[in-house]
Symmetry: C2
Subunit: 374 residues, 2 copies
């Protein structure tokens, strides 16, 4: 496994644009986007890779945060000598529209009212997120990205990029992703949303001056965590191990380690995530349907010009391999250059964050070929 | 598919016992158990089958409720000419201990205080549920059951019966069950419990004089429903179909049919289920571990004398086939007579309630052989 690079220093920057046109028809004003960059843009401006984060990620993808001291969310994939090699490539990662980590979202101040948007924030889509990313890339003076890549919702954005801005993307690497959510994926997101909205502290989204809906958001996060792991990885990590309690000392606090883990992860989440962002972003994922407005998924890809590397993981039951295969078949029907690997892993959907060996090798080789062919 | 029998009239009866010793050491006083019977006990008292319900079931397993007019929860399996043939067998089904459908549970009055137990109800186990069922069977004058059978938690009880009362069971038919919950199964139950306990209306369990924790219980039920269905059955039933709304007329009410279904099922659940029962019964499921106190699972079965029919379903990802196979292997290691079938179905864990054809045939033949061999 490549070591996690710790010499890289991450600093989140920000760009602001006067207006952003959304799919819903609203024009959002004074839109800020938080982003981080790693490595150096070459003089030909041909080595830029845009990394796209999943539901709860942020701009801090790699390196050690200058202020926080924390590592980024994909440290084993981005850095000197790693798959997204910062000695060779200029890596950019921005926080998504609707987020709560520096980019405009429901927790931001609406310039027209001077109040936070809360649930008055307009409905957003994956395409809206990508439109803002395109403005950022233009702002950075980059005409064409060497690659766009991300896992989960990041993979949806990688697909949207290739279709929406075909001339601006040489390669797209969607990982553990889908062209549209299944009923089951929508259902899991919906239960998370219901848990948040059931919390009286949510207060129709107006919680910014009071307590956040910590209990509801924790339940949503717990559901998320179960779906990100696999049956096997949970068994390996927790089994049926009991917390340090006497037999029949049990009650409704905590008996099993898995309960303790979920409660802890759920309760921590509220410190770093806005419940309204959770609502808006999960809805954007559920609305995403690349084939919408086209006679077929293959037809949706007709505009695309990128080369594709599609990855899935054997134990990922939330974004199962059949969804990646649907994508691959449509790409092939559209005569696009596509390479597909189902990588072996027990880690479930989390595998794209954890399984570095094979994923690194495949991404390294693919980028090498794409960069060499420019 | 055998037709659902509607000529059978179901009437819930009740038996009360002065005391019930629980695994936790508490002796519960004045314990009532609600039960229904279908068919006629023969003079040899050798044709009795005990049907064991799952988490949210009740004593009304079959026929039309005399007062409610509703059908039971397993109408396609129990009735004249069906797998559990009421022309031939005397079928009994009782509501579990800790439940809220006539059997003593957290919503019952504690005779020592005159108040409802609420969260002062003692911790219960699957073995406690079975101990109460044994008292009922004794009360009905039945020394030995022809068979015990149930799906999901009912299957756990069917296993416990065979081990706890080996002389009282000729055959055990656990369906879509397990000898112990996995970390993932515990995790899903735990999120449901957290959702309930996060609802301020739960009020530490003291909601009987006020509003029940409807929102928390609804979220718990929604999570349950997702895990009871399969990815494929949800796709078939809902796909990505939108509710009757304009494009971009979406908001945080309901967009997709699957959301509408889950919300409806969640909101209805509170009318028929006690949130505290949900907490106690899911904990009993999580605690269940047949191998506990034995060197191996096979050793746990050493006491058993029954013949076993074990069934699982291909698309059941909540109680996957490997759990039934673990059971089958242990039964075989213990030299017990066991027949196993993995039945083909797209319906996920719900299959045991829905897939009647193959299940009926297998159960009919098995019971026929067991009854013939008495």
């Amino acid at each position: 496994m490549p070591s996690v690079e710790t010499s890289l220093i991450a600093e989140t920057q920000s760009a602001t644009f006067p207006t952003l046109a959304l799919d819903c028809g609203v024009r959002l004003r004074d839109v800020s986007v938080a982003y981080g960059t790693y490595g150096t843009l070459n003089t030909a401006r041909s080595n830029a890779i845009l990394i796209l984060h999943a539901l709860t990620g942020d701009a801090h993808a790699a390196g050690i945060g200058k202020e926080s001291g924390n590592t980024g969310w994909w440290p084993s994939m981005i850095g000197p000598g790693l798959a997204f090699d910062t000695n060779r490539y200029f890596v950019i990662c921005s926080n998504v529209l609707g987020g709560c980590r520096g980019t405009t979202g429901p927790g931001s101040i609406d310039p027209t009212t001077g109040q936070r948007y809360a649930m008055r924030f307009p409905v957003i889509t994956i395409a809206d997120m990508v439109r803002l990313q395109k403005m950022l890339i233009d702002h950075l003076g980059i005409n064409r990205l060497l690659a766009v890549s991300g896992g989960s919702m990041g993979g949806m954005q990688a697909l949207e990029w290739a279709v929406a801005y075909p001339e601006s993307v040489a390669a797209s690497i969607p990982i553990a992703a889908t062209c549209h959510h299944s009923a089951q994926q929508i259902a899991f997101n919906e239960v998370g949303r219901q848990a948040i909205m059931a919390d009286p502290d949510w207060n129709e989204g107006n919680f910014y001056d009071g307590k956040p809906p910590a209990r509801g958001l924790a339940v949503a996060r717990m559901i998320g965590h179960i779906t990100y792991m696999s049956d096997a990885s949970m068994r390996e990590k927790f089994g049926r191990r009991l917390r340090d309690k006497e037999a029949f000392g049990f009650d409704f606090s905590v008996d099993f380690e898995v309960e303790s883990y979920l409660r802890y992860r759920g309760s921590q989440f509220v410190n770093r995530f806005d419940a309204n962002s959770y609502l808006y972003i999960t809805k954007a994922m559920d609305y995403f349907d690349l084939s919408s407005g086209h006679p077929s998924l293959a037809a949706a890809f007709d505009r695309a010009r990128a080369r594709f590397l599609v990855l899935s993981f054997t134990s990922d039951w939330l974004y199962p391999t059949y969804q990646s295969l649907e994508m691959v078949n449509a790409l092939q029907s559209s005569n696009l250059d596509v390479e597909f690997h189902e990588l072996s892993s027990n880690y479930g959907h989390d595998a794209f964050l954890i399984e570095t060996d094979e994923q690194s090798a495949v991404v390294t080789n693919f980028l090498d070929r794409v960069f060499g062919a420019l």
